[in-house]
C-alpha cells in the first residue's frame, strides 16, 4: 500500500490552464437530481470561471428532459436557469460529453465504474464523487463495495482528490476520485499527527463519527423515513464502513489500529468526527496547535481553531470548510480531535469544485468562499 500523504502546505501547482483563461470551464453533471448534484449545480453557478453545460440524471422522470427545478425547488427562478433542463441518462450522451471540459459524476459506484473509462476515452476530465476509483487495491472492491473492479487502467490513473494532501497530483489528473465525506473528515483530523509520527499507534485510533441524513443519499428507504431518523441516533456498519479502506490508504495506517464507527444524526447536513488518540510522547497544547496550523497553512478551506473552542456542525453547514479543534490532557497524553464539515460541501460538492480548480490551474478556493463571507 502506498502512502500518498504529500507535503503539507504545498503551493498550488502552476500547470497552465486547461482552458483558455477567457473562456469558462464547461462542466457537465451526471446525477444532477441527487443532493450532491444539487450542491454541484449551486456551486458551479456561483463560480466565476465555470459554466454548467449539461445536467443529466437517470433518477427521475422518463425519456424527456425536464426542468431541474422540478427536482430541486430551491433552484426555481422566475425566468428559469440558463441550461436548466435535465436530460435523462443514455449512453448516447457519452459522445456529446466529450465537449465538456469536465464531467462530475454524483452517481452510484457501479455507474461510475462502468462509464468513467468511456468518458476518459472521449477526452474529458472526470471528477467522480462515488467510491469506484478511490481504492488503489482493486482486490479490495468485492469486500468493501460488493463488486469486482474491472477498470484497472483507470483505477491506476485515478488520483485521490484530497487537495490538502494531494494538490499537485490533482493538478495533473485526468480522473479524480473525490474522497468520501467521512473519509475527508477523518483524514484531515489525523494527517498532521500521522505524518509527524506523534501517535502512539500501539494504543490505536478510535474515530466516532456522526453524520446527517443527506449523506445517505436521496433514495427513499425505510430507515430514512422522517419518523425513523427524527428523535433518534443510531450507530451502523460497525468496523466495516466502506470509508475505512480509503482512510487507512490515505494515512498509511494498519487497518486493525483504526477503529471507525459511524452514526446517523437527525440533521440534514453535516459530519462531526470525534477522534481519540494517545500521543507517543508528551506535548503541550501549543505544540499541537502549531503542528496543525503549520500543516494547514496553505489550505484555505481548513480552519484550525486556536482558542480552545471545539468545532460544531452549525459552524460548517452550508460552507466549504473543514474545521479542526482539539482537547489535550497533557499529563496522560490523551488527545481528542474534533473535525466538522458539511457532508455535501467539503465532504462532496465543494471539494469536487476545489479539485476542478486545481485541475484547471485556478486557486483551489476559487468560487467557494462566497457562501460564507469574504
Amino acid at each position: 500500500m502506498s502512502i500518498i500523504i504529500q507535503p503539507a502546505a504545498q503551493p498550488v501547482p502552476e500547470s497552465k490552464p486547461a482552458v483558455p483563461s477567457h473562456q469558462p470551464i464547461r462542466a457537465a453533471i451526471l446525477g444532477a437530481t441527487g443532493y450532491a448534484g444539487r450542491e454541484l449545480l449551486l456551486g458551479l453557478a456561483r463560480h466565476p470561471s465555470a459554466r454548467v453545460a449539461r445536467l443529466i440524471s437517470s433518477g427521475r422522470g422518463g425519456a424527456q428532459p425536464f426542468p431541474i427545478e422540478q427536482a430541486h425547488p430551491r433552484l426555481r427562478t422566475p425566468t428559469g436557469l440558463p441550461g436548466g433542463q435535465c436530460e435523462p441518462w443514455s449512453p448516447d450522451i457519452l459522445e456529446d460529453l466529450g465537449e465538456a471540459d469536465v464531467v462530475f459524476l454524483a452517481t452510484p459506484h457501479e455507474v461510475s465504474h462502468r462509464w468513467i473509462p468511456k468518458l476518459l476515452e472521449h477526452g474529458t476530465r472526470v471528477i467522480d464523487l462515488s467510491g469506484a476509483f478511490r481504492l488503489k487495491d482493486a482486490g479490495a472492491y468485492p469486500r468493501w463495495y460488493g463488486f469486482s473492479h474491472k477498470e484497472l487502467a483507470a483505477l491506476a490513473e485515478a488520483i485521490y482528490g484530497l487537495p490538502e494532501l494531494n494538490a499537485e497530483a490533482v493538478g495533473g489528473a485526468r480522473l479524480v476520485a473525490n474522497p468520501g465525506c467521512y473519509a475527508t473528515s477523518v483524514i484531515l483530523a489525523l494527517a498532521p499527527l500521522v505524518r509527524a509520527g506523534w501517535i502512539d499507534m500501539d494504543r490505536g485510533i478510535v474515530c466516532d463519527a456522526k453524520s446527517g441524513a443527506s449523506g445517505a443519499g436521496r433514495e427513499a428507504r425505510d430507515d430514512l423515513h422522517f419518523a425513523e431518523v427524527n428523535e433518534n441516533c443510531r450507530a451502523y456498519s460497525p468496523l466495516r464502513h466502506r470509508h475505512v479502506p480509503e482512510i487507512v490508504q490515505a494515512l498509511g495506517l494498519d487497518e486493525p489500529s483504526f477503529t471507525f464507527m459511524p452514526h446517523l444524526l437527525p440533521v440534514t447536513r453535516g459530519i462531526l468526527s470525534t477522534v481519540y488518540v494517545r500521543l507517543a510522547s508528551q506535548r503541550d497544547a501549543a505544540e499541537v496547535q502549531s503542528l496543525y496550523q503549520t500543516f494547514y497553512a496553505g489550505s484555505p478551506l481548513v480552519r484550525v481553531y486556536s482558542d480552545g473552542t471545539l468545532p460544531e456542525i452549525q459552524a460548517v453547514a452550508y460552507t466549504p470548510f473543514a474545521d479542526l479543534g482539539f482537547a489535550l490532557d497533557e499529563e496522560t497524553r490523551r488527545l481528542i480531535i474534533i473535525s466538522a464539515l458539511d457532508n455535501l460541501g467539503k465532504g462532496a460538492a465543494t471539494q469536487a469544485i476545489q479539485n476542478m480548480n486545481l485541475m484547471f490551474g485556478l486557486p483551489q478556493e476559487t468560487g467557494l468562499l462566497q457562501a460564507v463571507g469574504p
Copy 2:
C-alpha cells in the same frame, strides 16, 4: 346525507358485556408492523381487560412468523412479548380470526374493503382504522379514495366511531369505522358550535391543519425522506384531502362552506388544527367556554382549556387526549378554535381502543389514562 351528531354528554351505553367479565377481550391486529399497529399493541398491552391474541402483517418479511420487536425496537423485552410473534397475512387466517373477540385493521383502504365483510361473516367484531367504511355515500369513494365500493351491506352497517358524538351507536356496533386523524381533530373542534347553530355559515369555515410525518404511514416515500421533511413545512392536497367528506358528513356541513388545508410538519407525532369561524351572533368568551365544557362534560378524553391558553402538540403527544382552546374577538365575532391531538393516539389507536371499550360495555377511557397520569 344524514347528520350523525348525537347528544353531547351521552351516558356510556349499558349494553351487557360481549365477553364474560372475568375473561379478557381477545384482540387481533392486522397491520401490526405500521405505526398505528404499534400503538394499538402498546395500548392493548396496557389495557386491564384486553389481551393481544394475534399479530398479523403483510408489510414485512416473507412467509414465516417473526418477532414483532423486529419491526418495533421499542417493544423489545428481555424475555419476548407474550404472543409477540407476528404472522404474515394470508386469507387462511380469516377462519382463525373468528376466535378473536375483536379485530383491529390498520391496513390500506382497499385491504380493509376487501376483507372486513369476510371477518364479519366469521362473527368477530371489527374496528377499521382505514377509510374504507367511513363514508355513508358509496358513490363518494371513486372521487375521494380512487376505488369503487362494493360492500354496501357492510358500509350501511358501519358506525362512525367518534365516541364523543356517537357513543351509543358504537356500543351496539359490529363494525366501527375509526375516524381519520385530521377528521377527529376538526370534528371535535367544530361539533359544539355546529350543533348549537352558532356559526355564520355564509362566511364559511376555514381549517388550517398541521400534522406530523407519522400520519403519512411508514412506507418509504421520496417525500418522506428525513431530509425532505426536516427543516420544512408544506401544504398539500388543497381542497381535496380525503378527510373532507367524513368531516362534512359528521357535522352535516355543505362541502363548499368548509375549506380544509393540511400541512406536513417536521415532527413525528401530533396534529394541530386551527379553525376559523365567524359567530352568527355576539357571544362572550364565557359563553363559548360554557358551550364547549357542557358539550364535552361526559367525554373524559377531551380536555377543554379554561384559562385562555391554547393547546399545542407537546401537550397531547403520547397521550389519548384531544385538547381544545379558543380565542375570540367579541366585537367582530371572529372565533379561532385550536384543536390538538396525537395522530397515532386520539387520531388512531387510542380512539380505536376507546371504541373497543364501548363495544364491550366498558367505560370508554378504560386503560387509556395511564399514559399521562391519573
Copy 3:
C-alpha cells in the same frame, strides 16, 4: 390611513448614486451578534458594491471589542474577517457612524426608536429592521408595541421598505423601515388581489402563518428552549400579533376583515403563510396566474409558481426569494395562496440589502442572487 401600494412592476428609480460608483458603500451594523445581524454581515460580505465598516452590539461581552466569530462560529476564517471586530455599543459611537453611508439596525424596537433620529442628524442613511418606524399612526404604538412614539418627524419621513410595492419611495429615502417577516410574507401574497379588487371583503381574509424559531430572536427564553420547540407546534398572539397593523396599513384593509394567526414551527428558518380568501367574482386559474405574474414581472426576488405546485419552506430557506403559489376552486371562488420566504432573508436581512440597493441607485437584486445560483 393612507394606502401605500404602488404600481406593481415599477422601474428601479434612476436617482443618482449616493456614493461615487467606484467606491464601495460603507455599511455599519448595529445588533451584529443577533441572527439578523449575522445574515446582514454575510449578505454584505458577498455584495460587490458594499463593505462592512463597523460592527456594533450591546448584546454580548463587556466593554472591549471582540471578534465577531465568537458570536457566529460560521464566520470563522483562518485569517479573521477584515473588520471582523465587534464593538460594544456606546452613544459615543454615534458621531463616528456619520462616516458610514448606511447604518443597519437589527435592534429592539425601543433602541431603534431612541437612536435613529440621532443617526439621521449625523447625516447617515438608516435601514431599521425593528418595528419602530413601520406604523404611520404614532398613536398605534402603545397598543401594538407597548411604548409611546415620540419621534414624529422621523416617523413621518420613514418609508416602508417593501420594494415590490414601494421601490421608488425607497430610492429616495433617508430612513427605511424594513418590514416585518410575517408582514412581508402576507403582503406579497395579497397585494395583487387587493390592488385588483378581486377579494370578496365581506367574507374577510384568513391568514394562518407558520414561522421558524429564529424569528423570535436569539435571546434565551423559556419557551425557546430546544425541548419546548422541538416536536411541537403552537399558535400564539391570536388576533393581536404586532405585524397585523403594518399589513393592514400596507394593503389598506380594515383590521376586522383581516384575521391573522401565527404559529411557531420546529425549524430554524422559514415562514409559510397560508392565506384564505373568497374571490368577488368568478375567475379561472389562468387569470389568477396572470394577475400575479404581471404584478411581479419587475420583481426579481418574487417567484410566482406557474405549474400548480405549492411553495414550501425548503424552497426558500437560505435564499433571498419570496415564493408564491395558489390553489383555486373556481366554482366556489375559494382561493388559497401559499407564500414562503426565509424569515432571516426576504423577511429581514436580504430585504434590507435590497432596500440599500435601491437607496444607492443599484439594481435591487444586486449581490443577492449568488446564494442560490444564476
Copy 4:
C-alpha cells in the same frame, strides 16, 4: 477508592415493607416543574403502590401554589390532578415533609446538598437526583462540582442507586444518590466486562456519549435556544464532565484510563453511548453475549440484544429500559458496546422509582413497565 460493584443477578432484598402494604407510599417531589420532576410525577401517578402527596418547586411563580399543569401542559386533565397544586419552596415545608414516606429531589446540586441532611433529620427517606451525594470522596467536590461538601455524615451514608449493581444496599438505604444519566448509560455498558476482568486496561477505554437536550435541564440558556441546538451536534466538557468521577468510582477504574466525551444531540430525549475497548484475550461473540446476559439476568430493566442489532435512541425513549448491544472484531479483540437509554427515564426518573421500589420492598420494576407494554 472502594469498588462498589455487587454480584450481578442479586435477589430483591427481602426487607419488610417500610409502609403497611395496604397503604400507598406517600411521595413528595421537590423540583416538580423541571423535566425530571415531570417524569417523576408521571411515573408515580402510574405506580400501583405510590401516591404523589406534595409537589414543590422554587423555579416558577411566586409565593402562591399553582396548578402543576401550568408548568407541564401534558398533565392537564379535565378535572385537575388530585393533589395537582405545586407549592413554592420554603424551608417551612421541611417539617411537613416528615409526613412523606419518601422525598425525591430533582434540584440543583447545591440545593440538595443543603436540605437533604435536614430532610433526613425529619425521618423521611430521600432519593436525590442531583450529584450532591454521588461521590464518596468529599474532596472531589470542589474540582467536579465547584462547591465544598460539608455534609460528610450524609455523604457517608448515601448509597449510589444503580440497582443493577447495588440493589441490596439500596434496599436498606435512607438516602439514595440517583446516578447521573450518562453515568448510568456507561456503567451498565462496562460493568460486566470490568467485573470479569476482560478489558485490556493498558489500552484504555474510550466512551463517546451523545445526549438529547432535556439532559441539560429546563433553564433558559443561550446555548439551548432551539436555533442553536437544531441542525447541530457539538462536543462539550472534554475530559472533564462531572459524570466521570462517579463512573470511575462505580467501576473501580483509574481515571486516566477512562476517556469520556459527551455530545449534545438535536433530540429532546435519549442518550446513546458508544464505548470502545480492547479485550485482554480472545473471545468470540457468543462469550461476550453470554457474559452480558448472565450479568443482567436478574435485571428486568436492562435489555441485552442477542441478534446482532444495535440499540438506538428510539428503542428506549419514553421507556424505563437501558438497552445494550455490541460489535466485536474477534481477531483484533476490538469490542464496541452500544448503550441506549432515556435520560429522563432510566437516566433519571424511572431509575429513581426503581430505587424507591427497592427501598420499600417492592419488585424493582413495579409500576415501570406499563409505559411500553407487558
